[in-house]
Every structure is written in structure tokens, then in C-alpha cells.
């Protein structure tokens, strides 16, 4: 439970402090007097969103708002569930007991995050079983990043640093989403994600300061994960289909390109500390813009991966379907046990 105490801020402008600020804003908005109710449900909805207050499950909401949230939250939940696979690949081969325990806890967190999100989606009137079915039938997507393979142990470091780092940059603004259950789930998730990013950074730092071979392995992992991580922010603003309405509804707060830029600016000094190179010869500070110029990821590749033709799409879906089928006996046994107890 996270609503009752506020840990001290960990300094200005860190992502975690933004999460804490979002949580304080949520409590402040809840304490403030809301807009006056009117007979006009749509106008009342708009005024609640405009006042930075939260829409709650049984409130009237536009059908499009409900649909957008269900699609987005479900896709987010599916990503957490599929996201267990690339890292699960290394649990049995982690280089020490400590690393193994950490990786287990992280993968367990991903399962938990998936469940928080399914629970948030269910408050909008869908059933989790329906959403799981849509994933298994390939009718709902998950993040393209999880269709890339984890070839070496250093990939676990790169995923923590870059993939979780990008996820946090994407997710921190969602802590201020206008839909209450989603905002609260995201606050909880972002707090837990912070350890994920740090453990990855620590793995890379250790490798980068190890033998030549270890260092090369770390650099290779960063080389492979950099552009897919940039692609996690979605298509460029000029091609983004859902953005404008989502911004108006305060589901989304920043554009894809703004978040991508923020991520690049954050990573540059972090890479310097690691002593690893970001694989982009065009990367340089632009004093006029106050940001780094950088090479965009290959968006055609992103579309190919989203459409199902990434390196591991089929493998990920086959594994998920098999895991779902293999779990059937557990669901049946639980139902049989409940029935017997009730009799």
C-alpha cells in the first residue's frame, strides 16, 4: 500500500521524485473541492479532467475514452507478461546466486505488474480472461521490444538499463493519467521499476569494469538494444495515430518524440559513467536546442516487428500459449477444490 506515506524525495528532477510528486498531486486533487456536478454528464466529465481530478470506474465517460484505456492498459499488461520471457531465459544461467535471486525477483515483479494492470483494465468492464484470449489470438499487441532475443548475460544488464529506463520515461507521466485506477497502478509500478533499472545498470557497470571480454560483451549488448529501446516510444509524432485525443483526455501527457528525446538526454551521461559507447555516430549535444541530436530508430523495422515479423514474435506467442495450456490443470483443480469446499 503506497497511499499513506511519502518517502523523502531523492533529489530534484529524478524520475522517482516525479513519481512521488504525481502521488502527492493525486492526493491534493482528491482533497480539493471538485467541479460542481451538472445534469450534463459529458460536460461534468470534461470539467473533472480539466481540474486534474481523477475519473473513477463507475463515473460516466465517453465510449472512446473507455475503449482507448482498455486497449492501452491491456497492451501494457500483455507487455509485462510477455516481458518475463527474454529475462526468464537467463534465470537458470545467472552468474551468481545473488544475481539469480535478483533476476527472479524482477521477473516476479513483471508478473505482478501485469496483474495490477489487468485489475485496472477490469474496472472498465472487461474480463481478464477476455483480454488474455485477445493476446493469445494475436488480436491485441504487446511492446515490440520483447521480440528481440537475449543472447548473452550482458543483455540482462542492457534490458534493465535501456529497456526498463525507456519504460520508466514512458510510464512516469502515466502516474498523472486522468483515470484513477490506472494512475494508481502506475505509481506503484514505477516505484518498483526503479530497482529494475538500477540492477541492470549495475550489471553493465560490473561488466564494463571487468575483463576485456566482459567489456566487449557489455558493449555488444548496448549496441543491439539501443535502437530497439528508442523504438519503444512508438512512431514519430508525425505518424502517431492515437496521440491527440489521448492528450486531450489526459491519458497521455507528452508526445512520443518528446519522451524519446528525454530518454536520449538521460542516457548520454549514464553511458559515460559506464564507459560504454552509444552506437550512434551522429549523437551530439545541440546547444541551440538544449538537447542531444541523435539518429532515430528504423521505424520500418518497428512496424515489421509490431506486425509479427520480429526475431522472436512466433517463439514468444508459442511459449505464452503453451504456458497458458500447461496451466489449465491448475485452474481446473482450483475450481474443483472450491466446489468441493462449498458443497
Amino acid at each position: 500500500m503506497y497511499g499513506t506515506d511519502f518517502p523523502p524525495d531523492d533529489g530534484p528532477s529524478t524520475l522517482l521524485s516525479e513519481v512521488n510528486a504525481a502521488e502527492r498531486a493525486l492526493h491534493a486533487a482528491a482533497g480539493a473541492r471538485g467541479p460542481a456536478a451538472t445534469g450534463d454528464l459529458a460536460a461534468y466529465f470534461d470539467s473533472v479532467v480539466a481540474a486534474e481530478q481523477k475519473i473513477e470506474p463507475r463515473d460516466w465517460m465517453p465510449e472512446g475514452y473507455r475503449k482507448t484505456l482498455i486497449r492501452q492498459i491491456a497492451q501494457h499488461a500483455h507487455s509485462e507478461i510477455i516481458g518475463m520471457q527474454p529475462e526468464g531465459n537467463w534465470i537458470s544461467r545467472a552468474p551468481s546466486l545473488k544475481r539469480k535471486a535478483i533476476l527472479l525477483a524482477k521477473v516476479q515483479d513483471e508478473a505482478g505488474h501485469g496483474l495490477y494492470l489487468y485489475a485496472a483494465a477490469e474496472t472498465l468492464g472487461v474480463d481478464r480472461a477476455e483480454l488474455v484470449q485477445l493476446l493469445l489470438e494475436g488480436r491485441q499487441k504487446y511492446s515490440s521490444i520483447f521480440n528481440y532475443p537475449t543472447l548473452t548475460w550482458a543483455d540482462i544488464g542492457a534490458i534493465g538499463w535501456l529497456v526498463d529506463g525507456a519504460a520508466i520515461v514512458n510510464q512516469v507521466p502515466l502516474c498523472r493519467c486522468s483515470y484513477g485506477p490506472y494512475a494508481r497502478a502506475m505509481i506503484r509500478i514505477c516505484k518498483e521499476e526503479s530497482f529494475h533499472q538500477r540492477q541492470g545498470y549495475e550489471i553493465l557497470y560490473t561488466l564494463a569494469h571487468g575483463t576485456d571480454g566482459q567489456r566487449a560483451m557489455a558493449q555488444d549488448a548496448v549496441d543491439r538494444w539501443w535502437y530497439p529501446s528508442l523504438a519503444m516510444f512508438g512512431p514519430p509524432d508525425t505518424d502517431s495515430t492515437h496521440s491527440e485525443q489521448s492528450m486531450a483526455w489526459k491519458i497521455k501527457r507528452f508526445s512520443n518524440d518528446d519522451l524519446r528525446q528525454r530518454f536520449v538526454d538521460m542516457c548520454v551521461p549514464q553511458a559515460e559513467v559506464l564507459g560504454l559507447a552509444i552506437p550512434d555516430p551522429a549523437l551530439r549535444w545541440n546547444a541551440d536546442r538544449g538537447h542531444h541530436d541523435y539518429t532515430h530508430p528504423d521505424y520500418d523495422e518497428l512496424m515489421r516487428v509490431i506486425k509479427g515479423n520480429g526475431p522472436c514474435n512466433r517463439q514468444r506467442m508459442a511459449h505464452r500459449r503453451a504456458a497458458h495450456d500447461d496451466g489449465a490443470w491448475v485452474r481446473e483443480a482450483a475450481a474443483a477444490y472450491a466446489k468441493k469446499k462449498a458443497a
Partner: protein, 90 residues
């Protein structure tokens, strides 16, 4: 599989608060699932699970008529009363 709403008491002295939901076939399993999903970092010292179907909620559309009766009873608040200056302990 049935849906259960989960309430957690973070620490002794605080009330249970709603944190989310879990699916389970029976109450004991729901309790264990809630522990695994919502208290991985010792977020609680006590958990309630309640069948979601058993919760009767007031409707937001009726919010005004439902809560209106309390709106004009300002005299239920101590600030309604004027205390003469110099009156101690009141």
C-alpha cells in the same frame, strides 16, 4: 474464475485500503494470491479479500441526491458555532 477485491492494512493503526483485485476460485486462494501480488515488499500486515460481486456500490449518477441530505446541515460542524471571546476549553 471469481473476482475478489483486495484491501490491505499497511501498518498497525491504519485502516484497510483498497489496492486492486485478484482472481481465485475460493477465498483462501484469493488471500494467498493477494499476498503474492500486492505485498511483495511487505506493504501490509493484514489483507481482506471480498468477492467483487458481493459489493454494493452507490451510483455516481445519484451522488447528489444520495449525499445531499448532509449538505445543508452545517450545524453538524463545530465551526458553525460562535464561541464568546474568553471562553476557555471549548
Amino acid at each position: 474464475m471469481a473476482l475478489w477485491e483486495v484491501f490491505i492494512r499497511p501498518r498497525r493503526g491504519l485502516a484497510h485500503s483498497h489496492v486492486g483485485s485478484v482472481h481465485a476460485a475460493d477465498a483462501q486462494t484469493a488471500l494467498r494470491n493477494a499476498r503474492d501480488v500486492y505485498t511483495r515488499r511487505q506493504e501490509g500486515v493484514s489483507i481482506w479479500v471480498v468477492p467483487a460481486a458481493e459489493i454494493t456500490a452507490s451510483s455516481p449518477e445519484e451522488k447528489d441526491s444520495f449525499f445531499d441530505p448532509a449538505a445543508d446541515k452545517v450545524y453538524r460542524h463545530p465551526t458553525f458555532y460562535q464561541v464568546p471571546e474568553g471562553a476557555p476549553h471549548i
